[in-house]
Subunit: 196 residues, 2 copies
Amino acid sequence: MARIKTDKNISRKDVIVTKAASLFREKGFKAASMRDLAEAVGVEAASLYNHIKSKTELLHELCFSVANRFLQKIDEVEAEKIPAIEKIEKLLRFHINEMIHHYEEVYVSDREWKHLADPYLSNFQNQRRIYRKRFAAIIESGIRNHEVKKIDAPTAVLIMLHAISGIESWHRSTQKISAAELEENMVTILVGGLTQ
Amino acid sequence: MARIKTDKNISRKDVIVTKAASLFREKGFKAASMRDLAEAVGVEAASLYNHIKSKTELLHELCFSVANRFLQKIDEVEAEKIPAIEKIEKLLRFHINEMIHHYEEVYVSDREWKHLADPYLSNFQNQRRIYRKRFAAIIESGIRNHEVKKIDAPTAVLIMLHAISGIESWHRSTQKISAAELEENMVTILVGGLTQ
DNA sequence: ATAAATCGCTAACGCGTGTTAGCCAAAAAA
DNA sequence: TTTTTTGGCTAACACGCGTTAGCGATTTAT
């Protein structure tokens, strides 16, 4: 009998969720089996159900914990009294750092949310839509103030969010530049693309 | 008995491959079943096997037909005697148009190649790696000629390719700007981000 | 020390999967 | 018109999936 190891303040469920993120990222949600996950955790598949309700629950937890972090950040940024372009840069840097430091979770939330079931699915899609609208609104205010050049704001959002998800390639590449360099390069190119 | 309808020069296999692209895009490769595909084609699942070898073969065909189009294009662009920045813009516009007009195929090739099996998998990954290096080399030559600002070329490639895959969101959005506007906005932002 | 809760295990379930075998009608070739 | 090929069909296969039941050992609470 091989109990799941836990440190203080890390529940066995947390261990499972974390391993699930890694597995879902690697294989995709559908292709990752509970038996795979069990093996990664060091336990039999049935034992997982002492800690979780279902496979889908794992996906909920991952998707919404990520979504909540982003919503909280945009609340914070919107409230600040700084130029729009600085708000954009702050959000951008936040996204980049989330993708660098919470890679697996963020990636899974980004790519695998399709496999959520209603009502979680509609809920997640809504949150996403609203987030993008709020982001676009910041860009639009930047355009009105002539901080940002005249472009279609939703398209700009789409470019930025997807560009950031490209950090996936950075993670998997063998000859990585440093995280700090990556951040600076991305900000240079993306903020540069909006201004000037 | 409901035969698969075909026009001239479109084989029954082509019909299946096209429907497969649509289905794989919508549900993901693993989650899309052969019975789903059969229904979309208007036939029983077993009947599909009169035209194809396996489910994975469908993925091969999609992935490599897309990859070949991109490789052919970069061959063509590299051979031209024009400034690097114009080469970059040409590739960019090609990517954008591919994503606009062959959405399902390109999307599937981009997101579902993980489910290829060796030797196709390694093959595909190699082609991808080489393509990106060639793209980065063009950017680097642009930097040497001072057409492009000093940035990490692989990072620039990563941003551009992933930004383009964001056209997925455009396809699914209800209030679309026109394809032409989308293209111009993307080029403005991305080329603008490299130059300035 | 005793009781209760926690957390592993094995066995098994029902179901959906990709795929094959074998048959027969329609279409194409002779 | 006859023969051959094509392309449907039904039935079935072996397998992997998520999940549950029920048991016993270890840990925690009393």
